[in-house]
């Protein structure tokens, strides 16, 4: 009975939440949607902060809500990070961290020290919340949620109250949570950047309903659905830094199915990175391209050809090893190259970016 099962129906004046979801109990699941889509309400239902009349929620076989059965929030083994840090102003940072810790009975999986180290707040412990910056407050709030040793971490747009600079300051810490903790995280966001950077599994919401869901990489390469994260179609690749070429200031990142060179981001060899490849930066060639300025050339096979927003354009999905890339071509090019599913093809990737 692994996994998370959530079924909620909530009727408010002017808003109805109606969802039935199975989610993996691992990695980061992003609830993505515009404001008013119900993603925060869904998260609050999961935490027991809202009590829908009809609902069912189970986590790895443990039932937290079903019919009349109701486990109150304080008895659910979860951590919750609110949109605003919501620190207890009457306690010091340490007092905030210890508040939940003191009330937890089960075995510590994450020590307080580890949480403090993970969020880099060791130098702030004696301070009052009023003396912290916005970014620091949110890091303390995240550490506080981790200190209760949650088996499920719920995060409600933890970055949305912060400016761009503070976001950049916190995102690496969130990536560390993603990489170093084994706790499943459900993360509410309306930001395409955060989805691409942190997500493993995507749930797209609209008007209180789920409109698309699936593993992020797969959802992004689905050509039929309404799913589009951000402005342009893109894919993400989870890769590692393979080689640094100091002479040309380039780095090679390796992923199953190939490798790509791009300008050296200053990361050490072996570091896991996630890169985004925009469909408009990918072109296809029926023959091995020669003497091209585009030096990232992969081989793959056409999987399918889908429509783009403009009638003159098409999106072609290409399989490269176990990964998929999207290429945006003109319709004319598709015909000129005689592209059809199964065809072997050379893929030229003009640029790649780290997701941030």
């Amino acid at each position: 009975m692994d996994g998370i099962h959530a079924r909620f129906r909530l009727d408010w004046p002017g808003f109805t939440l109606d969802i039935d979801l199975d989610l993996p109990a691992a990695g980061v699941t992003v609830l993505f949607g515009h404001s008013g889509s119900g993603k925060t309400t869904l998260l609050r239902c999961m935490a027991g902060l809202e009590r829908p009349l009809r609902g069912h929620f189970s986590f790895n076989g443990e039932i937290w809500q079903d019919g009349r059965r109701w486990v109150p929030t304080h008895k659910r083994p979860l951590g919750y990070v609110f949109q605003e840090a919501s620190l207890f102003e009457h306690l010091s940072v340490m007092g905030n961290l210890r508040y939940g810790l003191k009330r937890v009975k089960d075995v510590q999986r994450i020590s307080l020290g580890h949480a403090v180290e993970l969020l880099g707040i060791g130098h702030l412990l004696d301070r009052r919340p009023a003396r912290l910056s916005g970014g620091e407050r949110q890091r303390v709030a995240i550490a506080r949620a981790l200190a209760v040793n949650p088996r499920l971490l719920l995060m409600d747009e933890p970055l949305s109250a912060l400016d761009q600079k503070r976001k950049r300051e916190i995102l690496p810490y969130l990536e560390r949570l993603h990489d170093e903790l084994e706790i499943p995280i459900i993360y509410v966001s309306h930001s395409p950047d955060e989805v691409l950077r942190l997500g493993d599994y995507l749930v797209a919401m609209e008007g209180g309903r789920v409109v698309a869901r699936g593993p992020l990489a797969e959802t992004l390469t689905r050509l039929d659905g309404p799913m589009r994260i951000g402005e342009d179609p893109c894919v993400i690749l989870d890769a590692t830094v393979g080689i640094i070429d100091a002479r040309w200031h380039l780095a090679r990142i390796d992923f199953p199915g190939g490798n790509l060179w791009f300008r050296d981001p200053g990361l050490p060899v072996g570091r896991r990175v996630r890169v985004r490849v925009l469909a408009r930066d990918v072109s296809l060639s029926a023959r091995p391209p020669q003497e091209s300025s585009i030096q990232n050339i992969l081989t793959g096979a056409v999987e399918c050809i889908g429509e783009d927003e403009h009638p003159g354009l098409a999106i072609v999905r290409v399989r490269v090893g176990p990964n998929r890339l999207l290429a945006r071509l003109t319709r004319r090019a598709v015909t000129a190259l005689n592209l059809e599913p199964g065809m072997e093809i050379w893929v030229q990737v003009k640029s790649v970016a780290l997701t941030d």
């Binding site: 902060l49 605003e84 919501s86 009330r103 009023a130 209760v148």
Partner: protein
Amino acid sequence: MHFVEGDFQAIWLTARLAGIVTLVLLVLGTPAAWWLARTGSRWKGLIGAVVALPLVLPPSVLGFYLLLAMGPNGPMGKLTRHLGISPLPFTFEGLVVASIFYSLPFMVQPLQNAFEAIGDRPLEVAATLRASKLDSFFTVAVPIAFPGFLTASILTFAHTVGEFGVVLMIGGNIPALTRVASVQIYDHVEAMEYSQAHHLSAVMLGFSFLVLFALYALRPDPRRRG
């Protein structure tokens, strides 16, 4: 300054009365204020109005009804007889009970405001940090609302000290038993002892000023937080 024996008795009696009433109202008023601050019940308006009634009611009216209630045929009178204790009118205990009604809004309203100002969020945070409702009340709501408790206690104490009309109706004017400071001043004036009335009045004036000064000085200044 010149005080007579009765003055000291009156001051001590007043302080004892106000202290006891403040403590009792802290215990009774806190849950009432909490309920009023957080309930969505349709009874909220009605209960709120009843609690606020002593603010506008002439003390003699309140005292009159309390006297009837405490009398042999009133509900409280029947209760005291049933319990085998002496009737409340013209006793110190009677003054305590009457003052609890009289000063109720001065405890409940500041507390209610303080509780309302907390909002839902800190309590939700506490719940996600494994605190039960009772736990979070004592560890989150009370500390955050602490200035409200201070304000409410000071106002209740001071208001009880200033009580006059209700005391006369319920307690009469029995030396060392129900003759509080305000009544003592009244007696001095009646007896044309103006200088003694002056002295006791000056004490009351000084006390009232100090209380209000403390209240304003202690109130946390939002511009000086942290």
